[in-house]
Each structure stands twice: as structure tokens, then as C-alpha cells.
Amino acid sequence: MSHVDDGTLDAYLDGELTPVERERTDAHLAGCEACRARLQEERTLIERAGRLLGLAAPPEHAAPPLHTLRRPTGRRRFMIPLAWAATIALASGTGWYVRGLQRPAATPTETFVDTTVPVALAQSRAIDSEGYSQGRAESRRDEAKLPASAASGLALRERTAPAAGSERAQTEPPTVATGKVASQLAAEPSPPTLRGAAAAAPAAADNAIVLTRPDPLKDLAIHRMSTTWPIIEPKRARDLLGEEPAVIPGYPVHTLRSNPAVLSEIVVEQVVDSGVVLLFERRSDQVVRDARRRALAGSAATDSNERLARYVRSLRIEIAGALTADSLSKLLGLIR
């Protein structure tokens, strides 16, 4: 037999040769010093590579019980096509928020997705009492206490409602007007009991929040625009959506605006407590189309951006910033 190649030596050492191959290799090695030397070299290399990989290993945690890994995959696939999307962006200090987004370079206190995400995760764990959780709930998570930060932001979106369409609405030109709402979300600081979210604690008061959504660049644009979107009449909003806009019950609608670029998209501004809630809402058939496109892109791709979401019945809640427990539970209470 000719000399043994490196691949065979590795397979030999990895115990992956068939008995016949192994026997043949043994026979050759017995009579070939050069190959024995190379075998030793490969052995050293394998050990070294294994050690290096060991240096880059994560800390090991016990796996949470399998039955706790619930995931509403089937449910969500079923839900989204039926749903029309409503996104609620709730920001503290909306006036600042608006300015901040319009001139990011001029504002020193912005907190963006990277720092807010850990807090958001901790919070979504904390509020996750519903069966519609993402399914990654685990005991370890229970350690996560509510963040103490007073800065807050919250996004809610996607509510189910029967699909209905109005093609006529799509062609109507938007009216132009402006308006601005500025106020503070009720946000009393709670005692600092951070653990999992400690890294994100510096999310300071008065910070604005940017939503974590599938396409940050696009979302930013939406948020920036939404404050200058033309104000529309309720009837127009109905026409654009093909149904009544979703609102948080019991609170007056402050302003309705339409997206001049995407006629099927509107924003509903509501004053809740002393904060302003923006609900981004889209026509249901538009949502169906988006959901289909996501589904076509592959199942694995479908949900990677939805990790911060929790469901309260049919309303999808996405949190992208620190919010006090009080404000959060109050808001969730309202939505329920």
C-alpha cells in the first residue's frame, strides 16, 4: 500500500475508518516510519486544535426541561396571515425622541438597539406570563429581575383582525399637516435589582428608544417620517386600512397620520397616562404578503427577528428599551 494521506490519518485517529481500512492502515504504519511520524504529527495537531476550540467554548449550563421549550410556530404562522399589523411605539419624552431621530448627531444621550436589547430581554422574561411565549422560557431566566432604569420604550405590534381591503383608498393622495406631541411616560424608578440586564442599566433617563424590528434602517426611516406624516381623518384611516384602526381602549386618539410613502400604513397616536403611544398599523393584505415572503425565505429565517416579542393574546408586543415594571404592567393591563 502507498503512504497514508493526512485525511486517512485523521480519520484513523478520529476512529472513523471502517475495520477494513483500519486494518490496512495499521499494516502500512507498522512498516513505514515516515507515516508513523506523520501520524504522531496529526495526533498533536488534533489535540492542539481541540484545545484551541476548548478555549472558545461557552460556559455550560444545564439544559432547561424539554417540555418548557414551547414555541408557537404553528400558531404564529396561522396568526400572522390573518393579522394586520399594529405597532405601538411608546417612548418617554416623545418631543425629545422626535428631535433625536431627526438629528441623531446632535443628541448625546441616545440609546440604541445594542444597549437596549439586554434590558428588553430581561423585561420580556419578566412579563412573560402568557402561554404565547416564544418558547425559550427557562428556569435560568427567572433570575432576571426587572430593570430599574427609568428610561423607557415599548413597541407593540400586530393584532389579529379579519382581512378586508379597499383598493380605492390606496389611490387617494395624502393630506398634509403636522403636529407634535411631547410628554413623559409615567416612569418611576424601581429599586435597582438588575442581574441579567446589568450591562444595559446605564440606559439613562430621557433616552429615546429605537425599535428592534426586522430592518433597523427601514424602521428608523419609518419612525423619523412618522412624526411628520400627514394627519388624516378617521374615515381616511379606515379607508387606508380597510377597517377600523386598532386603538388602546379607553384612551382617546390624539392624532392619526398616514405614511406618505406606503399608503397602506398609518400611525395612531394616543396619550396614555402622560406618555404618547404610537401605533403603527398596516393593511391586513399587506401583512399577509409580507408573511408569505418571510415564509418563502425559509423557516429558519422567519423568526430570527421576532425574538423579543411576546404575545398577549393576539397582540404582539415587542420591547426595545428599558421600562419600569409599573409602566409596563400598566400598559399591558390596558392592552389586555
Binding site: 485525511g7 481541540g50 484551541l52 460556559p59 449550563h61 441616545e110 433597523p216 430570527s304
Partner: protein
Amino acid sequence: MPEDLADVYRTTYTALVRFLYRKVWDAERAEDLAQEAFARALVHKPDNPRGWLFVVAANMARDEARRQARERRHLTLLKNEPERATPAPDEALSADLERARVRKALDDLSPRDREVLLLWDAGQSYDEIASQSGLAKGAIGTTLARARRRLVEAFEKGSEAEHVARR
């Protein structure tokens, strides 16, 4: 289901987390993704759960990387302050440094070499690696030999470069 998912979960969870960690480089995120992969397996009930899980995990990690790249772009557009490196304690520093070097060395591998190496390190057999990577089983040993050699070389080269730079 030919293979009980509960068994696979017990035997494969840690390996899947490790596999994912080398892709997303965030321990908690790796666990989240691993759990999500298993949760999906509960729904999908694949015939070959182990292989299926690694394929799904690899896809999720890829999506994650894309999403992070987008967020980074987003942040560079928005951030008005450059990120400041936070000083770390010494012991953490050296472990972090080593990890960073290994990470760099892994990044230097070709995607195929890296994938095969990570799958092997996550306890996959040659047969399993072959079916997941699309390589012939006979090519796995060769690929692994090359990947291991390059990993070690890249790591050592990286270390040398740092020593030179410090002088």
C-alpha cells in the same frame, strides 16, 4: 420519530450550544438559539433530529449574523459617540484575548473547513458531517486535517503578530 427527541436533547444540547457559540459568540444567545432549534424540532418532528438540529442551528446562526451586521450598520449611522473599550480585569482579559484569537483563527478558515471542524467538535460523526455539508464521507478526514492545521497555524500566527505589535 425514530430517535427520541428527549434523548437527543439530553445528549446534544450542550454540543449544539457550543456549535452555535462559535458562530454567534454570545453564550446566552447561543443557548437561546439552541433551545429554539429544539423547540422547532418538537413541532417538526424530523426523522433525523440530530442532523436536522445542526442544519437548523446553522441557518439560525447565519440569519443572526446577518441581522447583527445590519444592526451594526444601523448603529454606525446613528451613534454619535465612538465606542469606548471598557477595561477588563486581568484574568478575564487573558481568557478574552485567547478566545478572541481563536475566534480570529476560526474566521480565517474557509467556510467549509470551519463548518466541518465545528460539526466535528460538536460531536458529529463523519457520516453526519458528510450529510450536512454535502461532502463525501471520504473527504471529511482530509477536510478536517486541513482545517485543524490551518486553525493552529492561524492561531499561532495571530499570537506572533500580537507579540510583534507590542514590542
